[in-house]
């Protein structure tokens, strides 16, 4: 199962990040998680939101360039070593992870966003190994 992530390219200029988040706020797009990776000149802001398509549309209208990327969100036990075990499984089955970040933590479960270069393959590995993923619809309940 895939979830659409919203990626925004932003120059490292003061106020840019707040401008992007302002557009989302004005259109009532709720942010569930984000990761900001940056170099000295620019950064990529990656967001999991409740309505990625609307978010992208509004960002485009406001002159921001963004992209929808498919990622997997896995639901794993909130226990020491559980993420490591899953990565080991993915690795053993020839999958690869480009980047990842946490989504949310409940008392006994945690959600992690995974980005791979071959999402069909990753999806298959996750399914075959009974690793639980969530859909766009499930996001609302996270």
């Amino acid at each position: 199962m895939f979830v659409k992530q919203l990626t925004v390219f932003i120059e490292n200029r003061s106020g840019r990040l707040s401008e992007v988040l302002g557009v989302l706020k004005d259109n009532n797009v709720s942010i569930l998680s984000l990761s900001l990776a940056d170099t000295t000149e620019y950064g990529l802001l990656r967001l999991i939101v409740d309505n990625a398509t609307l978010g992208r549309e509004k960002l485009t209208e406001n002159g921001f360039s963004s992209l929808l990327t498919e990622v997997s969100i896995i639901k794993i036990p909130h226990k020491v070593g559980s993420l490591q075990k899953i990565l080991e499984t993915i690795d053993k089955n020839g999958g690869n992870i480009e980047y990842m970040y946490g989504l949310s933590i409940e008392s006994d479960m945690a959600y992690v966003v995974l980005k791979t270069s071959d999402i069909q393959k990753l999806d298959r590995i996750l399914e075959e190994n009974n690793i639980h993923t969530i859909s766009c619809e499930d996001l609302a309940n996270v």
Partner: protein, 432 residues
């Protein structure tokens, strides 16, 4: 099609006309323009010393500074009441340079531009939208009268209000576009934003571009936006000499034919002022031989080019000047290296992931010049490796071509400034 039979005259006949007109012009300016008489006396040349075309090189040059020193009408060869039009350059530093036209000059101008528009494929069937700024700038009115003379329907839309420009193109079925290369690209961008696909939804088949360099890379970029079949030709001129109409490209794309019965071109070494042999690159110097009001003699254009005299496949015998490689004015000296912004442009346009807009920033850090090139991503990406690959590619190519290390800054699509007239892409902050 060829507009005038003069364009195909044999070389001897062209030279005969040139010599007659040159001698007449020199005699006239010597008696009517004190500033010229003074310059010629100082150089020890009299009008009767001009016996052959080669003698032209005995005459002193005229520069933009001479025009400023004689502001506004000091170099004019007719009394003010003979003028029917006055134009002026933008004059970003100090006084503008002023140019004037008699009724006869306007007719000459119209003839020259008609030839150039015809070379670029224009006919009476065209609907010609002129997206040059109307006003003191000669570009718009020059093309206006030339195209009208051919019989095209003129849409004098000027610059700005790009969405309305696209609406005119759709509703009037504009077939010919007059603009700077950068504004032509901007218009295509705006059309796309409006959901109008230039190649599919518009009828523009001819673009006459000018007032900015048209590099091969820029031409390719224009084809990408406007379609592969659009006829793109560049034309050349400057207000001091007349405005557009000095030279223009034919559809063979092998340089711009100079209207040699009105202008004599020379190529000089910009440092020594020596006339260079045929085919060598140097500064273009132009003498106006059929102008009443402001016949500039040996005007230094500061444009760097070469001249070719072989007959063109199009049938014209007028010599061709290579599409400009730069203006000596635009040339930047960065850490001792001569750099034309057009060289940087070629690099940027060769990188597929980048858009055609850019900015060049020069700063001084201690004793060193620092070159920064701001470029715009054409599309978004989710991958740092793609972003790193783009910056590395631009940096490496600049290093190979210029021998200089540059800082490359990526910007989001549509963030760099767009221009409607001449693009100002260089910010030189070194003197401040």
């Amino acid at each position: 099609m060829i507009w005038s039979k003069e364009e195909t005259l044999p070389r001897e006949e062209i030279e005969k006309i040139q010599l007659e007109r040159l001698q007449e012009t020199i005699t006239r300016v010597y008696s009517k323009v004190p500033a010229y008489a003074k310059k010629m006396d100082e150089a020890g040349v009299k009008p009767e010393d001009i016996k052959t075309l080669k003698d032209l090189s005995k005459l002193p040059f005229v520069t933009k500074q001479d025009m400023r020193d004689n502001y506004p009408f000091g170099l004019f060869a007719v009394p003010k009441d003979k003028l029917v039009r006055i134009h002026a350059s933008s004059g970003t530093t100090g006084k503008p340079t002023v140019v004037g036209y008699t009724q006869g000059d306007l007719e000459t101008w119209t003839e020259c531009v008609s030839r150039i528009a015809c070379m670029g494929g224009a006919t009476e069937k065209d609907v010609a939208q002129i997206c040059f700024g109307y006003g003191m700038f000669t570009g718009a009115l020059g093309l206006h009268y030339g195209l009208e003379n051919i019989g095209a329907a003129i849409v004098p839309s000027s610059t700005g209000n790009s969405q309305k420009q696209i609406m005119y193109m759709q509703d009037f079925e504009t077939s010919l576009l007059v603009a700077t290369p950068s504004y032509a690209l901007r218009l295509a961008e705006v059309a796309k934003e409006m959901g109008v696909e230039p190649e599919r939804d518009l009828k523009v088949k001819i673009a006459l571009v000018g007032s900015e360099l048209l590099t091969d890379a820029m031409r390719e970029e224009m084809h990408k936006f406007w379609g592969k079949d659009i006829l793109i030709t560049s034309n050349y001129g400057m207000s001091e000499l007349m405005g557009p109409g000095v030279s223009g490209e034919c559809l063979e794309h092998c340089g711009m034919h100079i209207n040699e019965d009105y202008f004599i071109p020379e190529i000089i070494d910009p440092k020594t002022g020596e006339v260079l042999p045929e085919g060598e690159q140097g500064e273009l110097v132009i003498t106006c031989i059929k102008k009443d009001a402001l016949p500039l003699i040996r005007y230094r254009t500061k444009d760097i080019t070469r001249l070719f005299y072989e007959k063109c496949k199009c049938g014209r015998t007028f010599c061709r000047m290579e599409n400009l490689s730069g203006r000596s004015d635009d040339m930047l000296k960065i850490r001792g290296v001569n750099v034309f912004p057009s060289q940087i442009e070629e690099v940027i346009l060769s990188v597929e992931e980048l858009g055609p807009h850019y900015e060049i920033i020069l700063e001084r850090e201690g004793f060193l010049d620092k070159l920064t090139v701001k470029v715009e991503l054409a599309h978004s990406t989710d991958s740092f490796s793609v972003l790193e690959k783009i910056t590395a590619e631009v940096r490496n190519k600049l290093k190979i071509i210029l021998g200089l290390d540059a800082k490359v800054m990526l910007e989001s699509p549509n963030t760099l400034q767009r221009f409607e007239g001449k693009a100002k892409r260089v910010k030189d902050l070194r003197s401040k």
